[in-house]
């Protein structure tokens, strides 16, 4: 597909130790090491197993509803008055976000390994819902770890998980958000190592998770690359996605990494503003460190203690980022930028009013960045963004704020 040799490609990471440059790796307790090695072996075997590939494709088509649509956002394009804006409609997936792409892949892998019990962590609840969904489908037990604060602010998703048959464990340790949910999920996995499979929800954690999650999500970019070429007869000039851990972004970016003419932007959550310290922008405001099984950029203090992230979006509220993003940042291939809560809120409303699409708060960050640059581009240029989730889950948080501003 690409004319670059493997040596020069941005797409042949990680190395066999799971390193993306200095990032990634396998920083886990010995109890988990044999399991992680087993997961790696099962995943590698699955890559050449036609039965597995066929089964995954079957569920992608008939259960998730792939390929997801490629949509020309005509009214937003007119509003911005610059380049044409296209949306990859991954919010139309079953369960309403990109998370299911990864979950179905890992659940099928768990099934292949003979595991019938699943662990998942969740922030906004989208990964938890996707995991609970796959577990219902494949008759597996599902234990979801969710920060107690997130259980409060994402109640509709908690109800969905319970209805689907999952057990939701509210996590009160630490600050009760996604970081603590991940700690607790890892602790639970250490304690149930022989019986459970841990479905990590983002492209982070110990090797092979960052690469495996990226590969399951890359269906987004593979489809999008074909669809945009079909629609426009050329590659896009820029592609944009929001980043918490970064799995939807890598899914979109990875198939485009060797297309040199394509500018790539990852949008982190700037929360109340980077300068306030209340944000979740690990690349913009963090330094490399080791947490949750991998080395990557982390929000931390001078003594290596992890700081709490903050964002209006529970799905971006994480003090780290997938290790491949850390590497793409250092190589300069991807530009990492940020958008604040206020920006995201504005574009949440704008997209709803102009396109009839209620975006999740997460991709609203991507839209906000696009709003800041697309007007300066030429009308024959093309920007593609990943609409990675729908906003129903955010209404409880967003509506009071819009009401307060008199914007409803």
């Amino acid at each position: 597909m690409n004319d670059q040799t493997a040596m020069n490609s941005y797409r042949n990471q990680p190395d066999e130790d799971g390193r993306f440059g200095i990032h990634g790796g396998r920083f886990v307790a010995e109890t988990l090491m044999p399991l992680i090695l087993n997961v790696e072996k099962a995943w590698k075997d699955s890559l050449t197993d036609q039965d597995f590939i066929d089964e995954l494709n079957y569920y992608r088509k008939h259960y998730i509803g792939r390929p997801s649509a490629m949509y020309f956002a005509e009214r937003l394009t007119a509003h911005f008055g610059g380049a044409k804006l296209y949306m990859k409609r991954d919010e139309l997936n079953h369960t309403g976000a990109h998370k299911i792409n990864n979950v179905l892949g890992q659940a099928l892998l768990a099934k292949r390994m003979g595991k019938t019990k699943i662990i998942a962590e969740t922030g906004a609840g989208q990964h938890g819902v996707a995991s609970a969904t796959a577990c219902a489908l494949f008759d597996m037990e599902c234990e979801v770890f969710m920060g107690a604060e997130d259980v409060e602010r994402q109640k509709p998703n908690v109800d969905r998980m319970r209805l689907l048959g999952a057990k939701v464990h509210p996590v009160t340790s630490g600050t009760g958000t996604l970081k603590d949910a991940m700690n607790e999920a890892l602790r639970y996995w250490v304690s149930n190592a022989e019986t459970h499979f841990y479905i990590i929800g983002t492209a982070a954690g110990p090797h092979p998770y960052p690469a495996m999650v990226r590969d399951f999500q890359s269906i987004i970019g593979i489809e999008a690359r074909e669809q945009i070429i079909e629609a426009e007869g050329k590659l896009p000039d820029a592609i944009v996605a929001c980043i918490g851990g970064g799995s939807n972004a890598l899914g979109l970016f990875h198939p485009f990494l060797d297309d040199e003419s394509v500018d790539i932007y990852g949008v982190e959550a700037a929360g109340k503003g980077i300068e306030t310290g209340d944000h979740a922008a690990s690349l913009t405001g963090g330094v490399p460190g080791v947490l949750h099984g991998n080395r990557t950029y982390l929000l931390q203090d001078a003594d290596g203690q992890i700081k709490d992230a903050y964002s209006i979006s529970a799905g971006l509220d994480y003090p780290g980022i997938g290790p491949e993003h850390a590497w793409l940042h250092e190589t300069g291939r991807v530009n990492y930028v940020s958008a604040t809560d206020e920006d995201a809120l504005e574009y949440f409303r704008l997209c709803s009013r102009l396109e009839g699409i209620i975006p999740a708060l997460e991709p609203s960050h991507a839209l906000a960045f696009i709003g800041s640059m697309i007007g300066d581009m030429d009308k024959d240029q093309v920007v593609l963004m990943n609409m990675c989730g729908r906003g129903d889950k955010d209404l409880g948080a967003v509506l009071p704020m819009l009401e307060e501003r008199g914007q409803l």
Binding site: A29, E30, K179, R187, S191, V290, H292
Partner: protein
């Protein structure tokens, strides 16, 4: 040398060596210093000093809380090293092992940390989140600096993996007796016995058992099979129970914690 000598001494006395874990700076530096200094007199043969970390992913609620108390008290890695220096001055022969997670060391700087730890009189390191696959990070530099890198063997470490885990380890072998986090369930004597046999077949290092050992009776039982026994969460719990409502030390904190250490030391003698 101190580690080997301590196990030799215990062996010569027909008993196991007792190790006690406390978190440095829990609930504050001064109280922690008094407890640390008093441990050897209670019959404790070696000390594992926990380096507080915000996200201790292999620890149960007790040691998580201890870490957070220490961090709240403002304890830094440099303070932990200073405590180690004081301990070494007072107790020239008692092995001191630092236990924790990699990130604070990575941020402090590996070489700087190793030089200062060696100078402080630290004997070894136990790093929960550094498996042999990451030996180049800290294990190999630690050995070059003259510090033992003590490795955890767990119930999930099978016979094929055992040599990989033992390859660059020294000091002693720490057997995590349960698949779980610290301070939760306890292993059966039979499973400990079987694991000790597996480890002795694979290594000449002293075999130490920990995780889930809480009482003097459990120490006595484990001592029948192991060269050493470590108690952590139970000691941390005793300390926590003595704190006031705000989590601050009381007049009973040091004495109660040391009294438990003494009681646990009574279990060092093997069942016959």
């Amino acid at each position: 040398m101190r580690i080997a000598a301590a196990f030799e001494k215990a062996k010569a006395e027909g008993r196991a060596a007792l190790g006690i874990f406390i978190t440095a700076g829990d609930p504050d530096l001064d109280t922690s210093r008094q407890i640390l200094m008093g441990l050897p007199e209670q019959g404790v043969d070696f000390v594992e000093l926990g380096m507080p970390f915000s996200d201790p992913m292999a620890d149960g609620p007790s040691i998580q809380a201890a870490s957070l108390r220490a961090l709240k008290a403002g304890v830094k890695l440099a303070d932990v090293l200073a405590l180690a220096t004081e301990f070494r001055a007072a107790h020239p022969d008692v092995p001191l092992i630092l236990m924790g997670y990699y990130n604070p060391i990575y941020i402090y700087g590996v070489d700087r940390f190793l030089n200062e730890a060696k100078a402080a009189g630290v004997d070894g390191l136990i790093m929960v989140d550094l498996p042999p696959e990451e030996d180049q990070e800290l294990c190999l530099p630690a050995r070059d600096a003259g510090l033992d890198f003590i490795r955890l063997i767990t119930p999930t470490t099978d016979d094929n993996r055992m040599p990989v885990v033992l390859a660059n380890s020294s000091g002693f072998v720490y057997y995590v007796s349960i698949t779980g986090i610290t301070g939760t369930r306890s292993a059966s004597a039979d499973s400990i016995k079987a694991a000790m046999e597996r480890i002795r077949n694979a290594s000449d290092l002293p075999a130490v058992v920990g995780f889930g050992i809480k009482t003097a009776d459990q120490v006595r039982e484990a001592a029948t099979h192991a060269d050493g026994v470590v108690v952590g969460s139970a000691v941390v719990d005793e300390l926590a129970n003595s704190l006031d409502e705000k989590g601050a030390a009381t007049s009973a904190t040091v004495s109660k914690t040391l009294a438990l250490a003494k009681e646990l030391a009574s279990g060092r003698q093997r069942d016959v």
